[in-house]
Amino acid sequence: MALQSLLGEEMSLLEVKDLTVKVEDKVILSGISFILKERESYIMFGPNGSGKTTLLNAIMGMPHYEVVSGEIIFLGEDITDKSVDERARLGISIGFQHPPEITGIKLADLLRLCLGKDQNYDFSEEEWQLIKAFMLTDFLDRDVNVGFSGGERKRAEILQMILLKPKILLLDEPDSGIDVESLKLIGSEIQRDVENTGSTALIVTHQGGILNYIKAKHACVLLAGRFYCFRGPKRIYKSIEAKGYEGCVNCPDRVIEGWT
């Protein structure tokens, strides 16, 4: 791979090979393969139940998402059998659609843990600026997600991911159930992270709003556990907006190859 980058090719960050995933004995993803490159944003569309959340969770290594066959290669290393925390330490981060409430752990302490620091750590000036930008200063002393609004949860989720300085951000509907201000903030901060740190974002969304802030070239439609179509994000979104996912099924312009 080092050789590839010397040759001027972009390095592949994540490679998923022929991945089949079961959840509670039901096959959700059937033999999907794709490659994600560094410093890019990828958008994934698909109706509920098509397997988007399953794919993100399987990449993260969450139990209950059982890999039946296939491989997940991250930075050239087979991580298919690695635990969640091992993957996290390699640079994979996830932002959940519904993160849990954790009574007894303050948001400030969780942010410190994301930074790899203990309770006595004082945030740096830069970190304070980030916390302020995410409008979470008043939430630092509160238990994680307890009594947080939808927007507050998403902001806290993405702030944690940024503090982890990950190589890939797996984002499960970061734009659902939030106000316009939060959407703008979240979209721009993800874009900034990709641009500034060279990270890659894989974003599941149902909405087009976030595309105004994230400069993604690549998008796909997932249907019934398989990639159905690859095209530009705005084009796919417009089509879904007009004709729904049924429109995808009958679309004459379907592109079946992509993310390679």
Binding site: S83, D85, A88, P100, I102, I105, D109, G116, Q119
Partner: protein, 373 residues
Amino acid sequence: MDLTDESLLMRVPHKILEEAYRAGLESDEKARSGTLIHVDQATIYSKINEAFQGKVEIMDTKDAIKKYSWLENYRWRLINQDRDEFTKKVAEEFSGGYFMRILPGAEVIFPLQACLMITKSGFEQRIHNIIIAEEGSKSHIISSCTQHFEADKASHIGISEFYVRKGATLNFTMIHSWSEETLVRPRSAAVIEDGGEFVSNYLCLRPVKDIQMYPVAFCNGEGAKVIFNSIIYGIKNSLLDVGSRAVLSGKGSRAELISRALSKGGSKVIVRGMIEGNSSECKGHLECKGLMLDDESIIQSIPELIVRKSGAEITHEAAVGKISEKEILYLMTRRLSYDKAISTIIRGFMDIGIMGLPKPLIEEVNKIVDIIT
């Protein structure tokens, strides 16, 4: 014997002192307003930090009885000598204990500390403590009770009577650090006058054979307030039967009884709580949260509310469960190992923050929690 002589401390075997430090005793006495150490049947050290002379008194209860004839009005006034076999034993004969008095209006920033220690096998320690927080005073007390690891089959019987006078605030933290062979029977009661506030914190994080205690606070004064916080960690076949009871008789008196119980290794933790609402504008809340750490242990929660006036507002909530797998995994996505995720959740569950302790004390208690988690 001069109990303020620091060379006396040097005579205490080093490993015993070490244990006392682990149980919460602070070695740097500049951070304390006063210190008393009672080993087996004798107080071996008792001293007030110079900065707090004239603000606090600390001495062995037996010495206090000799010094102050009025103390008879405080001794055995809140607890009936004939209550049970343990109170009878102490009434019959006791080795001493601590007498602490915070003088009227004194604000004591650094805590007073006492350490009660057992070093002899088979020893039955009988203690009587009397604490008086005079009008308008503000203070913290930290009391650690510990048994030396080489002593076994010992027992500790401790009578404690607390007087919280008009407008006084007393924050009392008791840390128990016994051994698997210790039988422990504290008998405590407090009375709180008009506008007084008593915060009683209890921590038991080490194995013990058998503890049974059910301290009571009588909120007799108008607006008198009591807060009981208990963090009880049952391990290695320990039997812990720990309760707290508030009697709200004063107009507008208040009580909060909060407990966190953790159980593992075949231990049994019984958490009791009782609030009696005897006045029309009183308010009380009882909260018990339990965390089961395996399937061999038991947590039993027994909340009781007794209401005698229609205007009393008394509530309770209780919940016992296990650590949520979803929370563990969530923390693992934030790079914590499985074990670190669990200890972080347990620490969070114990919620030391509820105790209203000053920052240095929180850090010390956190150190103790660190050792066990």
